[in-house]
Each structure stands twice: as structure tokens, then as C-alpha cells.
Subunit: 219 residues, 2 copies
């Protein structure tokens, strides 16, 4: 695959960006079918921006306070992504739900990762929710974004045990290790055109040995 | 462990009773800390009754239509269980939620198994719900019964992959194989006094190598 064949991907982040780093590391190999071309944030202090600069990836910042409403904010993000020729978008700790302008500009082409086994425990404080519920398994989910909070078609999930004395930090760390495996895997499928959505169901054209379920029995 | 030391267990069922069979098989070993002493059903035709007779386990049937209300029905079940000296109750495909008379007679001592990863997909048609949601993992949950439908404290869970072309029967069969491992394991903990509930949280005093999470990567 020559560099010009690679699918151009933009990442949206708000925070530290360890999932961004996993995507940077995976796509650093020029044979990976996706190329990260820009990282956008809604905060100047998002550490994700520094990770992007360290990897010589372009960056932009769009601030909510610079826009009269949410649609205007979303359109500004779309303009930045389109200016970089982005074809797929990965949300990586981006703390806003994609609004209509983003969804319409990248139909079924915005991925998000959430650190629970959706549809269980969507939204904020996911690991706290998991521990309070007393469940024995958790994990993470990569899904296509829709207008809801963590409600879009599920592409792949990874599972980990919840151990008896887990606190939020321990559980979060265990799930993160699976997030860092799962997200680059799904981005590969997306970039290779093997991920389709129909009737709100995501289908991956899997090759031998691939699975949309990862088991984190060793993390 | 001498036979008289074994914890006396009653099983409630409505249908075929493959989970009952798994419990029968596990407790057939006289060194198992639990002994099945009676199987009750709310239908004369429940195949579980035949499984019990085949294993020389006592049976009873309590019919809803013979009772003026649900509390009376529940009290009749309690009387039967108490007449057999039952200490723990296992619901195995019992199609009724335990009412107050049962819960009060066996406080925190009624187990149930549900074929999803609770709190996701409680209630009826669980596998249909799972497939419609497009999730990539499912499994089963053993929990302590409370007044709700599949809402009580979770004791242990087993996970399996949901494969791309799964129909309900395939998924059900895969989950059942894990149910048959999970339920006898939890009953052992209960009978050994290693399962406690406090503040709606179930805790198991695990021994080396034990886990409240089973991974069905091989089923």
C-alpha cells in the first residue's frame, strides 16, 4: 500500500489521549491502511495535542465559547476535518456527542470507544457505575456514532474480569489495555472498507482468525 | 464430608431443566457440599420433574390455579421446601419471580441463573434481545434473588462471544454450556458458606485459582 492509498483519519480528543497514542503507534507502520492526518480538541490543554505534535500530526482546537451554538461549533470541526481531507473520524476521549453537522458530514464514518460493555453503563463515570453494580465482567466497546450518547451500532467489544477488590483506577487500567488493542483493530477494518452499517447494525467482513470479540484474560 | 453434613438444596423449575441436570450431575459426587433434596415445579409437565425422579430426588408441584393469590402460591412452595429441610434454593428456569413469602423464608439464600450479562437484557427473550442489540459478547449471570426481575446481587458471570451469524439457538447453546459450569460452581460456594451478601453486594471468599468470572473462549 503506497502512502497515497491510505485512508485519511482525523481524531477528536478532549483529554490525555492514550487511545490516540495507541492509534498513532498502530498507524506509524506505513503498511497500516489508515493514516492519522489531524487531531482536533475542544481544549487547548488537551494532552492529546502534544501527542499529535510529537508524532508530527497536524492539530486544531475548536472552543465551544467561540461559537454561538452547538451547530456552529460542530460545523467548525467539520471544516477543519474536511480541510485535512479526513475520510474517517475517531473519537478518543472526546467529551462531546457528535451533533448533526458532524454526523451528516461523515455518515456512518465516526467511531467512538467507550470503556464498558455497551449497552450497559453508557455515559459518564463508567467504571464507577460498573463497580457499584457489582458485575463480574466489564470491557470496552467500539461503536459507530449516532445522535445518542454511546448508543450507535456496535462494531467490536473486548471483555475483562472485574476482580473482587478492584477500585476505579485498577479497573480503568485493565480496560484501557484492551481499548488500546481494540481501537486500532477496528480502525484497520474501517480503512480497509470491511466495516458496513445497515439498519443500525454494523457488520465486519472478517478474515480467518479475526473476531469482533476480544477476551482480556491476560491483562 | 459425611452425607449428613451436606447442605440441603431445593430446586425450582418450570421447564426442561438442563441447569437442574448440571446441578444433579455436580452433586452426584457425595463429596460435593450440597445435596439436592427436592425439585419443585409450577407445571406437571415440567421435564425437570422427570430428571429429578431419574436421580431419585423428591418432587412436588404447586399450581398457581390452586391458590387464590400469589402469596398463597408462594407459601405453598415454602411449605414444601421446608418440609424437606431445604437450606438453599436454586431457581433453574423457574418462570416466576420469588415473592415475599419465599424471600422471607430463605433470606439471601435463593439463587437464580439468567442467560445474559446482567444488568443488561433482563427478563424474557434474553437471546433475542442480545442479537437485536448487536452486541459482541453475552454470557450468563448467577445472582441472589430479590423482589425484582433479575435484579439481585450478582455472584458470578461467564462470558461467551456472540458470533456474526448467530441465531438464537446457536447463541443459547453456547451460553448454556457456560451456565452448566457456572451454576454448580456457585452452589458449591454457597454450600461451603463462602458466599455473603451485604448492602446488596455479594462477596465470595475465593480460594487460590478460583474466580467469579468465567471466560467461555472454548465453547
Amino acid at each position: 500500500m503506497t502512502p497515497t492509498d491510505r485512508v485519511r483519519v482525523g481524531v477528536l480528543a478532549s483529554g490525555g489521549g492514550t487511545n490516540l497514542q495507541a492509534l498513532i503507534d498502530a498507524t506509524a507502520d506505513p503498511s497500516h491502511p489508515a493514516e492519522l492526518v489531524v487531531v482536533g480538541a475542544d481544549r487547548h490543554k488537551a494532552h492529546a495535542l502534544q501527542r499529535a505534535r510529537d508524532a508530527s500530526i497536524g492539530t486544531f482546537v475548536v472552543l465551544k465559547r467561540d461559537h454561538p451554538d452547538r451547530a456552529s461549533f460542530d460545523r467548525a470541526i467539520v471544516e477543519q476535518l474536511q480541510a485535512h481531507g479526513v475520510q474517517w473520524v475517531c473519537c478518543a476521549g472526546f467529551m462531546k456527542v457528535a451533533g448533526p453537522p458532524l454526523l451528516e458530514a461523515f455518515p456512518q464514518r465516526i467511531l467512538n470507544i467507550h470503556p464498558t460493555l455497551l449497552p450497559a453503563f453508557p455515559g459518564l463515570r463508567p467504571h464507577e457505575q460498573v463497580i457499584e453494580a457489582g458485575v463480574r465482567v466489564s470491557g470496552c466497546t467500539v461503536h459507530i456514532c449516532d445522535e445518542g450518547t454511546d448508543t450507535g451500532p456496535i462494531v467490536a467489544q473486548a471483555v475483562v474480569p472485574v476482580l473482587p477488590d478492584d477500585d476505579v483506577q485498577q479497573l480503568q487500567a485493565r480496560v484501557l489495555r484492551m481499548e488500546h488493542r481494540l481501537y486500532p483493530m477496528v480502525l484497520r477494518w474501517a480503512a480497509e472498507g470491511r466495516l458496513q452499517v445497515r439498519d443500525r447494525t454494523a457488520t465486519v467482513h472478517l478474515r480467518n482468525g479475526e473476531s469482533t470479540t476480544l477476551f482480556g484474560t491476560d491483562v
